[in-house]
């Protein structure tokens, strides 16, 4: 074994890139199950709430090429342990618009889709209740919010501090429902061999999907294999099982053939989750120097009647700034909507729009530069947990970003700069995201010729895992990249949590490092040479960092944007932006830049475009396709300067790597809204910043 230069951090091009560009990387729909494939199409409810009174599949069943029509009357019974939207076709009750009420299996997708029209369904509909308001009498406090956070946090006397503060801000911010919309539609291909199920599936973690399939069909781990080597984005909507995986498996069992189900774009607006709308009241109290005395962040959001999903919207507020008196709360309304789910930085994304907008408003009230205001409120320790930071570089991110962007000398006054018909402004906002490590197992083998095989059920949903994890493995094994083969995306591989919560590389990478250490120790005990028939070591990490209780672990960042608003039309353009991040070790400079950039662009898109519009009478999402649900195009994305600080963190995990999948989106919308205010003098507190709001 020879020692070589570290490849960690290098901008290695994607290992899986050539296959993806050539179209030879098989996504779920393109897998070969080894037999002719049948196709599944869905009949969905057109009401939000009520009961099926009549369901007649006879015309569909009589269609040539149709193999079966699954309905609540004939569908196989699933385990009663399934919750939320997973007990598909198990009852006549309808809980949300778009719920699957029947499914057609046919020889071709064309026949299946055409036969959907031959399923007659009648309902006893009840009036849908879909509108979120902060004054609803039925708001309730969930037992806890997502990721295990406490629902409320209260320190000191917030109301008293607000009443005596020299300066206060009291503002309510709103974010609309949003849909994840990865480019690859959710797809599941199911094949049964006896009582064993194979599912080729687009997801963010095969073991997560496997668990729900085991529950649904009463199977053991050995009977369910989920295979997902290539996935075209997820943003959270592929983290958990949704009805389509259950349906594909159910249909395949009924017809005794391989069945594939690829959701349509429209179906993705009801069957794979969404980000809850939020209404957030933020109150800040400060002394005349801008030092915060009180922070209050009260969140109202929705969940589905059949599933509680409590987005942790105010949790970032618990770590951002120092203040002796603090309060955060979350209240939910149960509505007749599909179950919400995680969408890139759930919690931090809507929550930091509110907090970072309020900080901008406070800076203006005080006449203090908004960068300086944030620096004045930098907390030396986690302000709510009262433990030290494992590392925190927000101030450096703000200062570096200000320097790169050219922030110095900025005129604090809003609405005074023009360039032709453009009103021009600049905005800043901070970003944060928790750093966590989760349990992950790993197996590394070396053959007699010194070739290494690394096996772990990690996922690459477009993030760069294939490449970055191979780099980590090569360094940990002290070999070149070319000597390591990585296998991920298969539930037969050693257990790992899914790609979510920015935990992927932190967890899988740690597992690889520790397992590689074991293997190298074994090899050294064998004299440094692998035995002729090779050697295999199983290892991993048991869960969170052992230092997670002693330290508060977060990445931080800062966004600076230039915003232009057309004085005649209210059109908004963002010609340039600077984002600086501090997220510990960066594993691959190229794919990391893409992650930061993609996150920022998604935040820009949230600021300017994204909004799922619900019809209050019919209860459905009206703009349920990419023509109606606007996402930023290339033309909306200007020059974006992405950089990161060298940050060493010995406590977060074996690699000092904090995770970067989500922090890019956090705070980006606030920076744009703050720039919009600076350009126009108008404070838009409800996203997105569409031209109609310019004319209010």
């Amino acid at each position: 074994m020879t020692t070589i230069d570290r490849v960690l951090g290098a901008g290695i091009e994607r290992i899986d890139g050539p296959a993806k560009v050539r179209g030879s990387a098989p996504y779920a729909f393109e897998q070969d199950p080894g037999e002719p494939i049948t196709h599944l199409a869905l009949v969905q409810s057109t009401i939000n709430r009520g009961r099926i009174t009549r369901l007649d599949p006879s015309a569909a069943e009589a269609t040539p090429g149709v193999l079966a029509v699954l309905t609540p009357a004939n569908a196989p019974r699933l385990s009663g342990e399934l919750t939320a939207d997973l007990p598909v076709l198990q009852s006549l009750d309808v809980h949300y618009q778009g719920q699957v009420v029947a499914a057609v299996v046919a020889e071709t997708s064309e026949i299946a889709r055409a036969a959907v029209g031959g399923v007659r369904v009648e309902y006893a509909a009840e009036e849908p209740d879909v509108t979120l308001r902060a004054d609803r009498p039925d708001l309730y406090a969930p037992a806890q919010v997502m990721a295990g956070f406490a629902t409320d946090s209260v320190i000191g006397d917030v109301d008293g501090a607000l009443s005596t503060a020299a300066v206060t801000v009291d503002a309510t911010y709103e974010t609309p429902a949003q849909h994840n919309n990865p480019i690859e539609m959710h797809t599941s291909m199911a094949r049964w061999d006896g009582d064993s199920l194979t599912l080729w599936d687009a997801n963010q973690g095969p073991h997560t999907i496997q668990r729900d399939l085991m529950t649904a069909f009463g199977l053991t781990a050995g009977q369910v294999r989920v295979i997902s080597p290539y996935v075209g984005g997820g943003f959270g909507s592929k983290a958990f099982a949704h009805p389509h995986q259950i349906l594909a498996a159910m249909a395949a069992r009924v017809v005794g053939r391989t069945v594939v189900l690829e959701l349509t774009r429209q179906q993705m607006f009801s069957l794979v989750g969404h980000r809850t709308p939020t209404i957030q009241r933020v109150r800040l109290g400060a002394d005349s120097e801008g030092r915060l005395t009180a922070i209050s962040h009260e969140v109202v959001e929705h969940t589905a009647r059949i599933a509680e999903f409590a987005e942790q919207t105010a949790t970032a507020t618990r770590v951002m700034y120092a203040a002796p008196h603090r309060r955060t709360t979350h209240r939910l309304a149960r509505l007749d909507v599909p179950p919400p789910t995680i969408m890139r930085a759930p919690g931090e994304t809507p929550g930091m729009f509110a907090l970072e907008s309020a900080m901008d408003e406070l800076a203006h009230t005080l006449g203090i530069d908004p960068v300086e205001l944030r620096i004045r409120n930098e907390p030396p320790r986690d302000p709510e947990r009262d433990v030290p930071w494992s590392s925190r570089s927000l101030v450096e991110c703000l200062r570096t970003g200000a320097e790169r962007f050219g922030w110095a000398g900025r005129d604090l006054r809003p609405g005074v700069r023009t360039d032709g018909r453009w009103l021009v402004g600049t905005g800043v906002a901070a970003a944060t995201y928790p750093s966590r490590r989760r349990k992950a197992d790993c197996r590394i083998s070396v053959d007699g010729r010194g070739r290494y095989l690394v096996e772990i059920d990690g996922s690459d949903i477009g993030t760069g895992t294939w490449t970055a994890l191979t780099q980590i493995a090569a360094d940990a094994l002290h070999v070149g990249l070319g000597e390591v083969e990585l296998r991920i995306g298969d539930s037969r591989l050693p257990f790992a949590g899914g790609a979510g919560g920015s935990t992927g590389l932190a967890s899988w990478g740690s597992a690889v490092v520790l397992t590689a250490r074991q293997l190298r120790a074994r090899l050294e005990s064998l004299g440094g040479q692998p035995p002729p028939d090779g050697l295999t070591v199983d290892g991993g990490v048991p869960g969170p960092s052992p230092h997670a209780e002693q330290y508060s672990m977060h990445s931080f960042g800062a966004h600076f944007v230039e915003v232009r608003v057309d004085a005649d039309t209210g059109e908004v353009r963002v010609p340039r932006a600077t984002s600086v991040y501090a997220a510990g070790t960066i594993a691959n400079a190229t794919t990391a830049r893409s992650q930061f950039l993609g996150g920022f662009c998604m935040g820009l898109s949230m600021a300017l475009h994204e909004e799922s519009l619900q019809d209050e009478h019919f209860g459905h999402f009206v703009n349920h396709d990419l023509a109606g649900y606007h996402i930023a195009t290339n033309a909306d994305v200007g020059e974006i300067d992405i950089s990161w600080l060298d940050e060493e963190d010995p406590w977060v995990n074996e690699l000092g790597l904090k995770g970067i999948g989500e922090i890019g989106i956090v705070g980006a919308a606030a920076a744009v809204a703050n720039g919009y205010w600076h350009a126009t003098g108008r404070r838009i507190r409800d996203l997105p910043l569409t031209p109609d709001k310019f004319f209010r």
């Binding site: 057109t46 064309e110 889709r113 055409a114 029209g117 018909r421 005649d568 039309t569 209210g570 059109e571 908004v572 353009r573 300017l608 475009h609 519009l613 619900q614 019809d615 209050e616 009478h617 019919f618 459905h620 009206v622 703009n623 349920h624 396709d625 023509a627 109606g628 606007h630 930023a632 195009t633 290339n634 033309a635 909306d636 997105p688 569409t690 031209p691 109609d692 310019f694 004319f695 209010r696």
Partner: protein, 331 residues
Amino acid sequence: MKEFRYERSPDPAAAVALLAREPGGAFLGGGTNLVDLMKLGVATPDVLVDVRELTSAEVSDLPDGGLRIGAGVPNADLAADRRVRERYPVLAQALLAGASGQLRNRATTGGNLLQRTRCGYFTDVTRPCNKRSPGSGCGALHGVHRNHAILGQTFEGPGACVATHPSDMAVALVALDAVVRVLGPDGERSLPIGELHRLPGNDPSRDTTLRHGELITAVDLPPLDLPSRYRKVRERASYAFALVSVAAALRVEDGVVADVRLALGGVAHTPWRARAAEETLLGRPATEEAFAAAAGAELAAATPLRDNGFKVPLARNVVVRTLLDLSGGTR
């Protein structure tokens, strides 16, 4: 998607004759809108007669100095035509403001004129829509309608419809007084483009005055001797339908409006020729005040819905700005 037959014909007359025998059939141009609607179950033709390569794909000079655009000319080719860019910049700009490069390569001139509204209730077969399913009602009227019409809607009865026409190109053609050449079962006819599209009236299922089997073969542009431009407003910088658009041409002589053409997009069931504004302006001083008064005269008839009132000041601003830009004024 319903099963359908696909047919080709040797020439336009045969295609017209074929479709005339097929009451449930439709012509297929680039298919960039029709095929989407078929996938959604909104359009359910049992026969498609492919005319994309039957009608001319040429732009040719007319003796009067105008241009004849074959109905098969792709939007991308038309936008790139040197004569169009030099003599009818409003048309080239309108074309390039629409759709995406890929769609413009595929979409035809004739098909662009006949594309249907993108109203979310029209494109969803599970919702009421008088345009798609006459008598079922208008879901948008009290629903999600921020980007719907502010002029010429029908609010009550079986004609209730607040949809907009989606085309950018058509707005420019309306301002240019284009003439649409049509071949039907009874032979050829021509109609001013202003008579092609119709307001919903009591039958929003009919977007145009064409009869079944009539095929657009060409669009004639009369000569234009005044500067023109197109301005499209949309919240996204590309690949979005207009919130409001303006096609304008203006000649100012001695500070007075000598000639003006003005049409609005995104405001009505048709591309909207702003005759009231034109009449107000003609012979008046070319000032910002006069432009604003003209826009006001046109928009006095506006009947905005609950959530699209912003289109009235938006349209006014865009009319004023576009006319100021054309007159060389700054403010």
